[in-house]
Amino acid sequence: MDREIFLQKVIAQFVDLDKILSFESNFRENNSYDSLTGMTIMVMIKDDYGIDITENEYRSKKSIAELYDFVNQNKKQ
């Protein structure tokens, strides 16, 4: 699973992204992030990686790296 592709897929869910997102940044702190962005990220994860991420699991991930690790771990199972 390619980390860079995953990052780009998350970034693609943002509308009018106002600053560069990295793996380590808290993506929820970006001004263009809101609950709708979160919903589209969850749909992307199910669409592209076949993983149902619950709201609680999603909310516990603070950075894109944590989200990536979660997807990667669950994909291997």
């Binding site: 809101d34 709708l36 979160g38 919903m39 969850m42 749909v43 199910k46």
Partner: protein, 340 residues
């Protein structure tokens, strides 16, 4: 015998709630943010003493003022609402009397929300094409705003009140648009019933006392006496189920997406509509959105948008149009209508 939609009228309550007022009530939400995300700039609100039957009656009066058919020709009414005047009797009976419709008229309510117009068309087609009714009024009317807690900024932003009337007939008048009803596709996932619900709205009471629940940030979350919507679950349901619904509707009607001239979906909110449109691979120019001045009017959203598309000549004679509704239940349905 074929059933046709042969006229639509709709009623919007006089009172309007604009985004500037919402922003004043909830200063953490800017006017720009509300408008940009939802595509909704204002919504109509039923007055304190205006109920679903009153709005239905206003829509009926408009319908008969705008169309040549007379009231005595109506032999059936189907009334779609989730905010009936009473648990019993059926509000459709009250409407029959107050509207001055014939006593030989059949009348019933059915309880569906955002998919209600599609189900209503399906029921109407069955009644008309089997000769049980000749001229049927499909009425939708909702006063969801009466079910929304004053602290619930999300639902206050999205929902507006409205009523609509559609004539479904086997004897269409050529002076008005005429759209035949083709094949229907339905779907239900009752496991999601708690995702859009007013818990204390029926016989089965869940709680005895009305209390507001808040999330960890102190934002209003729910109150069992009022409308609750789990936006994330509804979003997921819509995101995954609607593309399947549209695909099945195309197959059932032996159509490719290119054969369809316009898609009119339940007008939930602009963000969701745009997201779902892309997932269904529908070109933007074939996707009608009309939500800016009315908000999400539940079962009235499709007839309102459909009439506006016709009036704006976005739909013309010879066109095939897919209508799709989805939401509370969870329930969904779609059909193809052909304009002759």
């Amino acid at each position: 015998m074929k059933a046709y939609i042969n006229g639509i009228s709709y009623y919007l309550p006089e009172k309007i709630l604009v985004n500037e007022e919402l922003s004043k009530m909830h200063p953490e939400w800017s006017v720009e943010k509300i408008s940009e995300k939802t595509g909704i700039y204002q919504r109509h609100i039923s007055s304190d003493n205006e109920y679903s039957s009153d709005m239905a009656l206003s829509a009926i009066e408009l319908f008969f003022a705008e169309h040549i058919i007379t009231k005595d020709k109506i032999d059936f009414i189907l009334f779609c609402t989730q905010s009936p005047d009473y648990s019993l009797p059926t509000t459709a009976c009250i409407i029959q009397d107050k509207a001055g419709l014939s006593k030989t008229c059949g009348a019933l309510d059915f309880n569906l929300g955002c998919s209600g117009y599609i189900y209503g068309l399906g029921l109407a087609k069955g009644l008309v094409e089997t000769g049980q009714a000749k001229n049927l009024l499909l009425i939708t009317s909702e006063t969801y705003t009466k079910l929304i807690n004053k602290k619930d900024k999300t639902n206050k932003t999205i929902f507006g009140d409205a009523a609509s009337v559609s004539l479904i007939t086997s004897e269409p008048n050529d002076d008005y648009f005429k759209a035949s009803l083709d094949k229907f596709v339905y779907g239900t996932d009752g496991s999601g019933f708690e995702n859009l619900i007013v818990k204390n709205s029926g016989i089965k009471k869940h709680t005895k006392k009305s209390i507001n629940n808040y999330d960890e940030n102190g934002d209003y979350k729910s109150n069992d006496d009022f409308l609750y919507m789990n936006g994330k679950e509804i979003f997921q349901f819509t995101s995954f189920e609607v593309p399947l619904l549209i695909n099945k509707t195309l197959i059932e009607n032996s159509l490719e997406i290119e054969d369809v001239d316009m898609f009119v979906f339940h007008q939930a909110n602009e963000f969701m509509l745009s997201f779902v449109r892309k997932r269904c691979k529908i070109p933007e120019e074939k996707f009608f959105v009309s939500i800016k001045d009315v908000g999400n009017t539940v079962s009235s959203s499709i007839p309102i948008a459909l009439l506006r598309a016709i009036n704006q000549k976005k739909i013309v004679s010879g066109n095939k149009v897919i209508l799709a509704g989805f939401g509370v239940g969870l329930s969904l349905g779609a059909t193809v209508i052909t304009f002759e």
